[in-house]
């Protein structure tokens, strides 16, 4: 089973839920936790352990100057400006390339081939006997987050139980993360901002045809609007985490409430049972 944890809004507690859920599950069975927030992965802060790094590459064009006639087709085709034919040479801007491969197809001379370029890495560790952590890490200044997410997910592929921690937002990286998931846990908070972005995230899950459920985090007890929204969309509220100084203190030092606070391991286990009956 593959469970994605997403939210729309940033800072609602996706990683908190993902880390605690993974910790709790790993007490009794094998689980792989994949950090798909590749622009700022931080699940490793909850689970410090030595990691093995594998580079992630993406294909970018390389020009064979002997075959190139400077016709300019590639530069006119590339909508990302990754190639430009100026005067007597073809310039490439690899960091602008989205690796679509179109330039190799439009070149009438067959003068373009694709070569790998490193844009990030995947770090694998085993912080607990039954927990494997796979973190996708996009290099600074790079644009191809989905490629790193795809690579990170590939490392977990084939495992019976996988958790994907998504990035905030609802754009390409989140869609890449959700793709192939069996269930989507949407973490929200009791604010108008949390509800607004939850609405967007629900639309994404619905569009992708992924069943979803809601976790309300930092609840001040006034969740009527969120509850009404959930009922309207037929979404179960699977867990409510209160706004509490005690929880914040554990969280702020990189601790796990499922491990450090009594009663929370059971609650996260109930959450898992709610998702995977």
């Amino acid at each position: 089973m593959k469970i994605a944890i997403a939210s729309g809004k940033g800072g609602t507690g996706k990683s908190t839920v993902a880390a605690n859920l993974a910790y709790t599950i790993a007490r009794s069975r094998d689980v792989v936790l994949v950090d798909c927030d590749v622009e700022e992965p931080n699940l490793h802060l909850f689970f410090p352990a030595p990691a093995v790094d594998v580079p992630v590459t993406t294909p970018v064009p390389e020009i064979d100057p002997d075959r190139c006639t400077l016709c300019g087709e590639c530069g006119r085709f590339c909508r990302f400006g990754a190639l430009a034919v100026v005067k007597d040479c073809v310039l490439t801007f690899p960091h602008l390339c989205h690796s679509c491969g179109g330039c190799t197809l439009v070149c009438p001379q067959g003068a373009i081939r694709e070569v790998p370029r490193t844009i990030g890495r995947v770090a694998c560790s085993r912080p607990l006997p039954r927990l494997v952590l796979v973190s996708g890490i996009l290099n600074e200044g790079e644009v191809q987050a989905p490629a790193v997410i795809r690579a990170a997910k590939m490392f977990a592929e084939g495992h019976p139980l996988i958790l994907y921690d998504a990035s905030p937002g609802i754009a390409c990286p989140v869609i890449e993360t959700l793709e192939g998931s069996d269930f989507c846990l949407l973490v929200t908070e009791s604010t108008p901002f949390g509800l607004h972005d939850l609405r967007l995230a629900v639309e994404v899950a619905e569009t992708l045809g992924i069943p979803a459920g809601i976790v309300i985090n930092r609840s001040d007890g006034e969740d009527a609007a969120t509850v009404a929204f959930a009922q309207e969309h037929n979404l179960p509220i699977l867990m409510t985490i209160p706004f509490s100084r005690e929880i914040a203190a554990v969280q702020n030092r990189g601790g796990l409430i499922g491990r450090d606070l009594p009663g929370w391991e059971e609650r996260f286990m109930d959450l898992f049972t709610g998702v995977s009956p």
Binding site: G75, F80, G81, A82, A84, V85, V86, K87, F93, L96
Partner: protein, 113 residues
């Protein structure tokens, strides 16, 4: 010599546009004949990477001098490699005014990679 001036509209009376890659028009002026050609820039609303693409448009029109407000890093590299010199026109005048300022030697070159 062909000079390209970035403009907000077609023709040499059009106001100069300060942006390079997203300028609505490129006005190419042949300084020998005085003839001009205005080319609508298809990249105005493009998502990104407009600098190198605009540089290729200039190169294809045979321009060797660009007059604009400023250029970004990618555009600078493409222009520099393409042997196109860039000059900064920061005034609010027309394409013709900018060209006159360039001809009079009053424009500062923009350093390119």
């Amino acid at each position: 010599m062909i000079v390209c001036i970035t403009a907000r509209a077609a023709g040499t009376d059009a106001p100069v546009e300060q942006r390079f890659g997203r300028a609505p028009y490129f006005v190419f002026v042949d300084t020998e004949t005085g003839k001009s050609e205005s080319v609508e820039n298809p990249l105005v609303d493009a998502a990104g990477g407009v600098g190198p693409r605009a540089a290729q448009v200039l190169s294809e029109h045979g321009a060797t001098v660009l007059i604009t407000g400023q250029v970004g890093g990618n555009a600078a590299r493409a222009l520099g490699t393409g042997g196109i010199k860039a000059y900064a026109y920061r005034g609010s005048g027309s394409v013709a005014d900018a060209l006159a300022a360039y001809t009079a030697g009053n424009l500062q070159p923009i350093p390119l990679a």
